[in-house]
Symmetry: C2
Subunit: 759 residues, 2 copies
């Protein structure tokens, strides 16, 4: 009986267990957890990140670069179209491509020299004999074949012209002596103070000024010159600034080293605003309103031409006049003189004039962005954007194709994971291969204009990798302070080239570091204060948290302004593979780091942005503003206290949000709560926008990161307005300083409001 009972009990127990199991797992009912519950709480997968890192291949990057640099691909040329097709092919590849890829076209205003009538710079004797002619093209060294598609060096957007005295329009002309035209003067870097200084000694009316790159923006050298009656500007790269003094191509410069050969010329866009110049705030489409070309501002008002230092040497070392001050001296083995104006009486160019014959012309051309997306699975309406321009000046192996090769490797690895069904990001990823960046960030800017609303609402971040590798010493990164943490985190997970143990982070901190009040010594993530690459439209115009990532120099080894082949015909695959990153492991490191950041932004359940790091930056800026401006403002009855209050409220709100985040039980929170916090983090940079803050600066709306002339590590609008007011002492300038202080305080306070309790 006992046995029976036991057996019966056992049987019952088994049946009961079966029932329990059936009941628990076997019944689908109304209260069953919907399938999406697990899905919405999915977080970043560290194993996939490791997989990504391991699959990024330096040789793939090398081959990408080889393909991209086969021909010169200046914006809107046939070579550019070849790269469009290549990008489309890669991104539409069924095995390694993206979900979708397409091109977007804009009709943009560009400027080109006339291939049939090249620009000329000559020295002409008083009798009209041409004594000297500057090179029209850079010397070819045979390693890269001579290519008729290499564009003659020119100053894009500088006007055509043959400077004549009847064209003189100047505010500051010294009219005591009758103007003779074409006398050469040396104006150092062409800054306002350089011309002011020069003008104390030399009558600039009717002169041609030769200037060296650096110190002032390209267009600025001519804009600053024109008020003095200067009729033309030459610009060259002094070997002191780019070549550590090296000048000889027989053994010192490329193809023997990375240094610029004597005939190398930095091309560039000579403008101060970004985006298509005829369609400010409007995407440049077929029937879009265009401003009259005469209304364009921020370009040279007088003919301007860049030349090599070989030609600059021939001109500068023959100048007469007084010796220029020590800080004006470059690397030439002669004394740099102001010019008499004009050449020394004992020179072969005595009494000769410099003639500029410039034939540049503006053209409206069709420029393409190539776009590609990986659609997000859970939050497709959140965009992480990764981009780089595609157009170069010549072959552009470094600028921009180092970045494009890296981007293509990132998309190859991610695309394959997607195509194989191994991965789909939480958020959508948009890749942009921008057109016509070299002419003023045009493709990316038109994109931000056309999709302003959509991008404002949904963009989590923009990652820019333009020149991926300037040099192979260390990572360099700039960005919005809230992005610092994710960049640092990614950099700790990637090894530095050629090492199994030293992380990118550990290497980086040796080259660039700062002492953070919060973290102690950490790598220094810079700020995106200018408009140096395609991040400008994103951070300044859209207020999207942005970053710019690259590998760069060991500054103890060179004082070059930038890599010496920059914007020259020498920026080739050969140059890059021999002198910049042999083996392409620095490229690989950038791909791994930027890709890691990208994956974290796309996959993290909670966005990896730290708003307290923003507070730290604002506090640093505030400290500097108090130091520099508090007293001066107070003397004009302007209290800086609202700014102090705003920064301190921002700090508290950020701390409070960090606390909410710390207390989150991520796996069990409602997805709407996580989304709410993510929105607070995502929209933080948006809160710093004020479209009326800088009425004279196209596209600059971010009151913390706008460009500034004052050169102080503090709030740009306040700094510039204060410096103007302090120098003019005009009431209206002090009013503007006060206005800047108020709008800045309001923006910071407004940002704090977005971080605090949601209601």
């Amino acid at each position: 009986m006992l046995k029976k009972v036991l057996l019966g009990g056992l049987g019952a127990a088994l049946v009961l267990t079966l029932g329990i199991l059936l009941g628990h797992f076997g019944i689908q009912s109304g209260s069953t957890t919907p399938g999406w519950v697990q899905e919405v709480t999915r977080d970043v997968d560290e194993e996939l990140i490791q997989k990504f890192i391991s699959e990024v291949d330096n040789m793939e990057i090398q081959e990408n670069l080889r393909e991209l640099t086969k021909v010169p691909h200046m914006a809107t040329t046939a070579g550019d179209e070849q790269t469009v097709q290549y990008l489309l092919k890669r991104w539409q590849d069924p095995e390694t491509g993206l979900d979708q890829a397409w091109r977007e076209e804009y009709l943009v205003y560009l400027s080109f020299p006339d291939p049939k009538t090249p620009n000329k710079v000559t020295v002409e004797s008083p009798t009209g004999v041409v004594l000297y002619t500057a090179r029209e093209k850079e010397k070819v060294y045979g390693l890269d074949p001579e290519d008729p598609e290499v564009v003659q060096p020119y100053a894009a957007y500088a006007p055509a012209g043959h400077p004549k005295s009847d064209h003189l329009v100047c505010k500051l002309c010294q009219t005591s002596s009758p103007p003779r035209l074409g006398r050469l003067v040396y104006a150092n870097q062409g800054t306002p103070s350089d011309y002011a200084h020069l003008n104390q000694t030399v009558n600039l009316t009717g002169t041609i000024a030769i200037t060296r790159y650096g110190g002032a923006g390209r267009a600025q050298k001519a804009i600053n010159a024109a008020p003095y009656g200067v009729v033309g500007v030459l610009v060259y790269t002094d070997p002191l600034d780019i070549n550590d003094g090296k000048m000889s191509d027989t053994n010192e410069t490329y193809p023997n080293s990375w240094y610029m050969p004597p005939s190398g010329v930095e091309r560039g866009s000579f403008n101060t605003h970004f985006g298509d110049m005829l369609t400010p705030y409007l995407a440049a489409k077929e029937n879009t309103y265009r401003i009259p070309q005469a209304n364009i501002t921020g370009i040279p008002p007088i003919p301007t031409q860049p030349i090599g230092f070989e030609d600059a040497y021939a001109l500068i070392c023959q100048l007469g006049g007084e010796s220029a001050p020590p800080e004006w001296q470059g690397a030439f083995n002669c004394s740099y003189r102001y010019g008499g104006p004009g050449f020394r009486p004992d020179s072969t160019f005595k009494d000769s004039e410099v003639k500029l014959d410039i034939y540049n012309r503006g053209e409206i051309k069709n420029s393409s962005n190539v776009m590609g997306v990986i659609k997000g699975s859970i939050e497709p309406d959140r965009y992480v954007i990764y981009g780089n321009h595609r157009d170069s000046w010549v072959h552009g192996a470094i600028d921009p194709s180092s970045g494009t090769s890296v981007m293509l490797e990132v998309t190859r690895v991610l695309g394959r994971m997607v195509k194989q069904g191994k991965w789909r990001p939480r958020r959508s990823i948009i890749f942009g291969s921008w057109g016509a960046e070299e002419f003023g960030l045009i493709g990316s800017t038109e994109y931000t204009e056309e999709y302003y609303s959509k991008l404002s609402e949904r963009s989590v971040a923009y990652i820019n990798v333009d020149i991926a590798v300037f040099a192979n010493a260390t990572l360099r990164a700039s960005g919005s302070p809230s992005a610092q943490s994710v960049i640092l985190k990614a950099s700790k997970q990637v090894k530095t080239p050629g090492s199994d143990s030293i992380s990118v982070y550990d290497n980086w901190i040796r080259y660039f570091n700062r002492t953070s009040p919060t973290y102690g010594v950490i790598p220094n993530v810079g700020f995106l204060t200018g408009a140096g690459s395609d991040y400008a439209g994103f951070i300044h115009f859209l207020g999207v948290t942005s970053m710019d990532i690259s590998y760069t120099y060991d500054r103890s080894k060179t004082s070059a302004r930038i890599y010496p082949a920059y914007h020259t015909a020498y920026d080739t695959f050969d140059y890059s593979s021999r002198f910049i990153d042999p083996g392409f492991t620095s490229h690989q490191t950038v791909a791994r780091t930027a890709g890691n950041v990208l994956m974290r932004l796309a996959d993290s359940l909670l966005l990896p942005f730290n708003c307290s790091d923003y507070a730290e930056t604002l506090e640093g800026y505030l400290q500097k503003a108090l130091e520099l401006y508090r007293e001066g403002l107070a003397a004009h009855k302007i209290s800086i206290e609202p700014l102090q209050t705003a920064v301190s409220r921002f700090r508290s709100a950020a701390a409070k949000l960090e606390e909410v985040i710390r207390d989150l039980d991520l796996a069990n929170e409602t997805p709407l709560k996580v989304r709410r916090i993510n929105d607070q983090l995502m929209l933080l940079d948006r809160a710093f926008l004020d479209p009326f803050a800088f009425p004279d600066k196209y596209g600059f709306r971010h009151v913390i990161w706008a460009s500034s002339k004052a050169g102080q590590p503090t709030f740009p609008g306040l700094a510039d307005a204060y410096s103007r007011a302090a120098s003019s002492e005009l009431g209206r300038d002090w009013e503007e300083a006060h206005r800047q202080l108020s709008l800045l305080s309001q923006a910071i306070l407004g940002a704090a409001h977005t971080l605090g309790d949601v209601i």
Copy 2:
């Protein structure tokens, strides 16, 4: 055995069932549905809406109004402070209050007459004898006691002054005859064409112009006059325009009817922009930058004073000169003449002048908004905002206290449901009792400036109920087209006053209707094209989908411009309860309708906005634009095609989104998908903002709803620019028309992008 087996089987089945039940309901495990899953899919509860409707009480509204109108409560006066305290008391009530209530203060620029030196309007004979003095205050009829706090009628922001010829600054003066000052002329409504017409007959230099309300904005009457050398402006309300011609207070006007008594004067703010005038785009705080008062634009450049029609009669009927045209004639029993300038030779005022002695002064005063919130349970970071101003000119029983009484009844019913734990909205509700609206929507505008970022990111909608009841005939509503559907839905659920069967909708459609291409005949929801009340900052500056709701006239019964006691001392509890809404059932109906809309916006799982209704509106506007402008633009080589494309893309994108919505299985969708669609709907109006579209119009950024002079039911910026260009035929004006067309097309296309596939 069979029995045993059966029994055993039964037992086993029972045990199995027990097990199944235990397994299904008894085990908490990792895969159990989290508690928030049900919560996040909660939708609007129709029973709660019915409960709300039934609890809204007309007698409560009556008592609210009695309390609010005890004393005059002009902005920043002691009476205003009393209403602040009352609102705070009500919203902090432990039984019927909100979660939280507080005040927010701004230091704003207001304008007041000098109580010690009242403004004077007199007729002075050539020998300096005062022949006539206009009333300083309105006549008291004893039903409302005389209150020293009743402000003298004045034109806020009109400058102080005693017009003298040495102050003459005019562009269009006829200087042939020496100016004599103070000669009266009648200038109809003071529009530009009125003055142009008058100027053909009369030399306006040095004259005082008397004008009637209507046709042009208050400030405009003086702004339009000044260029002709007019030195002062009087303004009055003609009985034709407000009283259906009635004039006698012995039996025709208040206190015998709702008509304005002869001494009644419409006060008002004489400015054309909204918001605090010294702090454009900045919240007016203690240390905020303020523009110099001399830089204020949009206010009368010359002294201006409003008077009653009793005084206007005495002046106008004695005027000399030619008879004015029929459309200039009002209800007075005399012929309205232009003025000689000045009075008739046979009048007692012969050769006399009109003297204005205006002592208005600007003051920076502390104005409060009272804010209250009910925190949302599921999406607290989404705000539905409901507001009305609190300040009046005098007792303000209708303007604004009808709206405030309604708001207080809405908050009483909702607050009690919250306090009793019966309800908590899905989204947060913010109530705003704005200060200083009468001076130019100041409180609400400062609020939108201070919290710009937070409100831009999170506001679902703004509901404005200012004057809740103009009259008791029918509902009237204006709003963004996407809000049409929720207003119509709510209006179907509420019964019209005094009926158990006729809905507000059924009644409304009889008074205001239109034929929609989509729906056929429906009530006509108007557009928010101007800045008539506190919605301006929300729709025009923030781009938040807004609505304005009230009860209003049977236009077949009166042609009054507005209710006749508007902005007079007669806008009292007595007036409202006897002539506007006896029994307060229209107030109740507005509370029920607006509250219903509010609850739907706050509780609906999917926002009740319809983007296809927006498409219908845009198509209507496009049709009109094609009709009016296509040819003229084409003649200037401007193609309207981008606008056509944009509207058509908007229509497709809207249709697509509606399809996605139709296909939703709401109860089972992931909350992030619903949120995504809600964000698309919520942010739709935001996509129409362009801060640079209307550089001369403070706060107007919404390219569809900005104010317009052209008076055409089409896109305002294009309409105004086209009309200017067509009349001037200047190249730059056609350029501006083209720019308007481009920015409009881009905004509509940008909005379409936000409605389409999220990626």
